[in-house]
């Protein structure tokens, strides 16, 4: 039971962070299909930081620096989307798809090159961070608390406040809904869209590191992040682009993911003897069905995916 809670929370944290990232990007008017690639890059940044931090660094510092590193790399990588989508008016879906392919390929090439440079016999694309991961964990009576869960909650609160209570949030949403209107009241739409995409880079990168430390102490970058970026997109849509609903959706998806792994601990479920593929498919099927019933009144930002051109009326 505790395990189910623990894994629900950790999976939900990943999904929540990344989905909130997508939410910011889309509220600014840019569709971010490239979250998967951004996650890989964020994971890479964090993993590198943990690998190279000297042993004996205080846990707090490890967590802080690791988080910052993944944020930084996610942010830089998301520039690829921002530049293409905002300045060059590229097709956002295409660029996002390219970023997903590029993220895994680039991270693998980089890690392999790094490993081989350090030791010619080491051809793996794996980074180990045994001690680094421990810094994130606190054992609370058998419940393995991960500081990232707290980060996710903080991100949720901040996202809610920023989107609904601040000037920035109001302006951001205006750019995703009606960029011409925003422009006419003196808001720099390009800058806002940059901000939206870069925030999605920050949160996506953070989600990446949370994902790879969620269960293991080494990561093989060839494997990317196994579709979590796409799942997060589903969570975002499921949550109707609203932070609180996204949080609920993330919990739901996290719950199913966790359940798929620990179901054999429940007599009822293990006696059902469902193949594991059922549990794997479940989140996707549910979101598809829910989408079918909710999309008529979809609250997607109206101008998302449409490049903003100042000259056009």
């Amino acid at each position: 039971m505790l395990l189910l809670l623990q894994y629900t929370l950790i999976f939900a944290s990943v999904l929540l962070l990344v989905a909130l990232g997508g939410c910011f990007s889309e509220h600014s008017g840019v569709i971010n299909i490239g979250l998967e690639g951004i996650m890989v890059m964020g994971a890479l940044g964090g993993a590198l930081m943990m690998k190279f931090l000297p042993a004996g660094t205080s846990a707090f510092l490890v967590v802080l620096l690791t988080v910052l590193a993944s944020i930084l790399l996610g942010l830089i990588y998301s520039l690829l989307l921002a530049v293409a989508a905002v300045n060059f008016k590229a097709d956002q879906t295409l660029v996002g798809t390219a970023m997903n392919l590029l993220g895994t390929a680039a991270a693998t090439v980089f890690v392999k090159a790094m490993n081989t440079a350090a030791d010619p016999d080491n051809v793996s694309s794996t980074i180990q961070y045994l001690d680094g991961r421990k810094a994130f964990l606190v054992d609370i009576g058998g419940f393995e608390f991960n500081w990232c869960m707290l980060l996710a909650v903080i991100a949720l609160v901040i996202a809610y406040v920023v989107l609904y209570k601040t000037r920035f949030g109001l302006r951001l949403c205006a750019c995703g809904e009606h960029p011409q209107a925003a422009d006419s009241v003196g808001i720099n739409v390009y800058r806002m869209r940059y901000a939206g995409v870069l925030i999605s880079g920050v949160l996506g990168g953070l989600g990446g590191i949370v994902y790879i430390i969620a269960g293991v102490s080494e990561w093989k970058f060839e494997n990317g992040v196994a579709g979590f970026g796409f799942l997060a997109l589903a969570v975002m849509i499921f949550g109707q682009w609203k932070p609180t609903r996204i949080a609920l959706a993330a919990l739901l998806f996290g719950f199913f993911r966790a359940l798929g792994n620990v179901y054999s601990g429940f007599d009822l479920l293990s006696s059902l003897n469902l193949p594991s593929s059922v549990y794997n498919m479940l989140p996707y099927i549910i979101s598809l069905v829910v989408l079918a019933f909710t999309s008529q009144k979809s609250r997607a930002p109206k101008a998302e995916g449409i490049p903003y051109d100042k000259g056009q009326r």
Partner: protein, 381 residues
């Protein structure tokens, strides 16, 4: 003379071609720089190896044979790119080509291995399976307003798990691979009609290759020359106008996705029914073929004929990547380069706008000059 050159540069096809070439060149250049950074010693040779692909082999027979292999894998890629392109022309982004490819593979192999049907039945099954999956996205879009990109992403994963589960029925327990066609049901292998002989007896070269080229041409004709194409494109460009003039816009959306899905499904069949590959039932990621199809479609300037060349090119460098010296560079380097090229395809529109702007400015200058000289002459007279 000059004017002719200008109008040539203004032609859409030429512009697309130039833009695509630019993507390729920049993509390779960045790839080369990455190689240089990793290991300067072998970078030149590595990039040449990638570009050479089958020319890596010294013997003519081997070159021919592996040219054949590249073609064999180009066929499904081309079909996936046609699938993406077809939908895109009709205003839909078929990111689900990947999943449609998966169900195409599942259907063709199951019908071949599980039901023992001949190749044409398998082919039809693959097309039907892909079409059904595509149609699901189309129906969700037309009747429930579900964004096709999202439904396609979901369906990609669902199809992967379903097909893995289905195909476990047609494999040995001890192996994750499905049975080979040659041992189980040779009738399901696409006929070669002597084509294999042309490629130094490459057993995998089948009618699939001419078939997909025919399909490309057919897609082009369908889109540009037929009433159906006229309707579908109109729906894609402006579904309200389509509705206004009495087209069945919902049906058209579904039909488009079904055709796109059928193309991707058929793509899978062209590969798996050639016996080239067996399905691995433990795959945990959707095959990249469908995503690469997006790249090929855009690189080909969203033109079915252009797709033939861009698909071949992408497959060519992907295969070429296998020959790069692995002790120096990792195997993912060719993935990196093709991902870069896809990314750069996003800038094609900008390239074109830029090129037109440049032409405009040049023309204006020329006109200004002509005006100036004209008025001068007028002044003299």
């Amino acid at each position: 003379m000059r004017r002719e050159k200008t109008s040539l540069l203004r032609s859409k096809g030429v512009q697309s071609l130039l833009a695509s070439l630019l993507c390729i060149v920049i993509g390779l250049l960045i790839g080369y720089i990455v190689l240089l950074i990793i290991n300067p010693a072998g970078a030149g040779e590595a990039i040449r190896t990638i570009v050479e692909n089958f020319l890596y082999y010294p013997s003519a027979a081997a070159r021919l044979r592996y040219f054949g292999n590249t073609l064999v894998k180009t066929a499904p890629l081309l079909m996936c790119s046609l699938s993406v392109l077809f939908a895109y022309k009709v205003g839909l982004f078929n990111i689900g080509a990947a999943g449609q490819y998966v169900v195409g593979a599942g259907a063709s192999l199951y019908v071949a291995l599980g039901l023992g049907m001949p190749w044409y039945v398998c082919l039809v099954a693959a097309i039907a399976a892909g079409a059904i999956l595509g149609a699901i996205s189309g129906i969700l879009k037309a009747y429930r307003n579900v964004n096709e990109v999202i439904s396609c992403i979901m369906l990609n994963w669902i199809s992967l798990y379903l097909v893995n589960a289905l195909l476990t029925n047609v494999k040995e327990t001890a192996s994750p691979y499905t049975f080979t066609l040659s041992s189980t049901n040779p009738d399901a292998i696409l006929p070669s009609l002597g084509l294999g002989a042309l490629f130094a007896n490459n057993q995998y070269v089948t009618i699939a290759i001419p078939l997909v080229i025919l399909v490309s041409v057919a897609v082009w004709i369908l889109l540009e020359k037929t009433k159906l194409g006229y309707e579908l494109r109109a729906t894609g460009c402006n579904k309200y106008a389509a509705q206004y003039c009495g087209m069945k816009e919902k049906r058209n959306i579904i039909l488009t996705m079904a055709i796109a899905g059928g193309l991707a499904g058929m793509g899978a069949a062209t590969l798996f029914l050639s016996g080239f590959e067996q399905w691995q039932t433990t795959q945990s990621a959707v095959p990249a073929m469908g995503f690469n199809g997006i790249a090929a479609a855009f690189l080909g300037g969203l033109n079915p004929i252009g797709s033939i060349f861009s698909s071949y090119f992408i497959q060519h460098i992907t295969n070429g990547g296998a020959y790069v010296d692995k002790t120096m560079y990792s195997a993912q380097i060719s993935d990196l380069i093709s991902a870069l090229i896809i990314y750069l395809c996003g800038f094609v529109l900008f390239f074109k706008v830029f090129m037109n702007g440049w032409l405009d400015r040049r023309e204006e200058k020329r006109r200004a000059k002509e005006d100036a000289s004209g008025s001068e002459e007028g002044g003299k007279a």
